[in-house]
Amino acid sequence: MSEINKTGSIVCVSTGMTLGAHMSPICRSHIEQADVVFAACHPMIELWLQEMNSDVRSMQQFYGEGKDRRITYREMVAAMMSEVRAGKKVVGAFYGHTGVFAWAPHKVIEEAKAEGYAAHMEPGISAEDCLYAHLGIDPGTYGCQNFEASQFMFYQRNIDPSAYLILWQVAIAGDKTVKRFSTGPAYRQLLIELLTEHYPLDHKVALYECPTLAIDEARIDWIPLSDFTHADISLITTMVIPPSKKMHKNQQILDRLAELDKKFQ
């Protein structure tokens, strides 16, 4: 990594999920003090950011139906980097936790550091954090696995059905083109097929949506897995799958621990 000796800088900050409720003081301070803020958030959150800084540029313009999203993400990085190279104090404000299931914030920090600019990330409250509160589940009870739905389909993953499984971006599950804003029932059916290796069709799963505005309620719809094919979902829907199996004791390790206990009591 090259030495930090240039004037430009980038901080990727987290806005949290709900307007007004989740942004940390340090994220707010970075936004207020930035020369320019690039935003990838709900438009209402972007309006909120405009009250903190007079130069907020939305990155929603980089998306387009039929446009490869990898290009979109690269354009985000390029837009932020060009201002960093111009010597500006740049902030990338991404909704939720800026570094959770988001490519551009990690990439821009990596690029900026490689070119010798100061760059770091400020954590925040993600959809996952909110769902633990709203659904009343604790990832520590049985363990918890997180996958992007398409990745879960494209690659052979070993999942543990005795732990929670959270699937992100289910609305575009199975989108090999990397261009769609939604896939559809046939793709969801294939995802269900994959899941039935571990979960019965009547297994209850939650479709979760955290509110962006404090005047709205969280969406928590418990449906049988089989109903997912035609369920009403959007780009913000997250699927939460509770365990279908009990945890099995690892007797071998338990026996060895018992031996250790005898030795070290």
């Binding site: 709900h42 929603q60 398409s150 992100w168 090999k176 261009k179 505005l213």
Partner: protein, 68 residues
Amino acid sequence: MTAIQILEKLGANASFNPSHLNEEDKLGIQQTLSDTKPFNAIQSQTPPDEEEIPEQNQDDEKNDEKES
């Protein structure tokens, strides 16, 4: 207060209740919301394989074939 300032207060202040909103405030929030553009929440993508990312935006068929 602007609609956004009201929403900020609702999010941040435990004693500021949505039921305290008057009709004008509610209308202002609805209006602001209906003026906003659609939100694309997708920010991460696992490509089906490790192929090169295309150089620029190509809405054409050629790219479709390459990806699938």
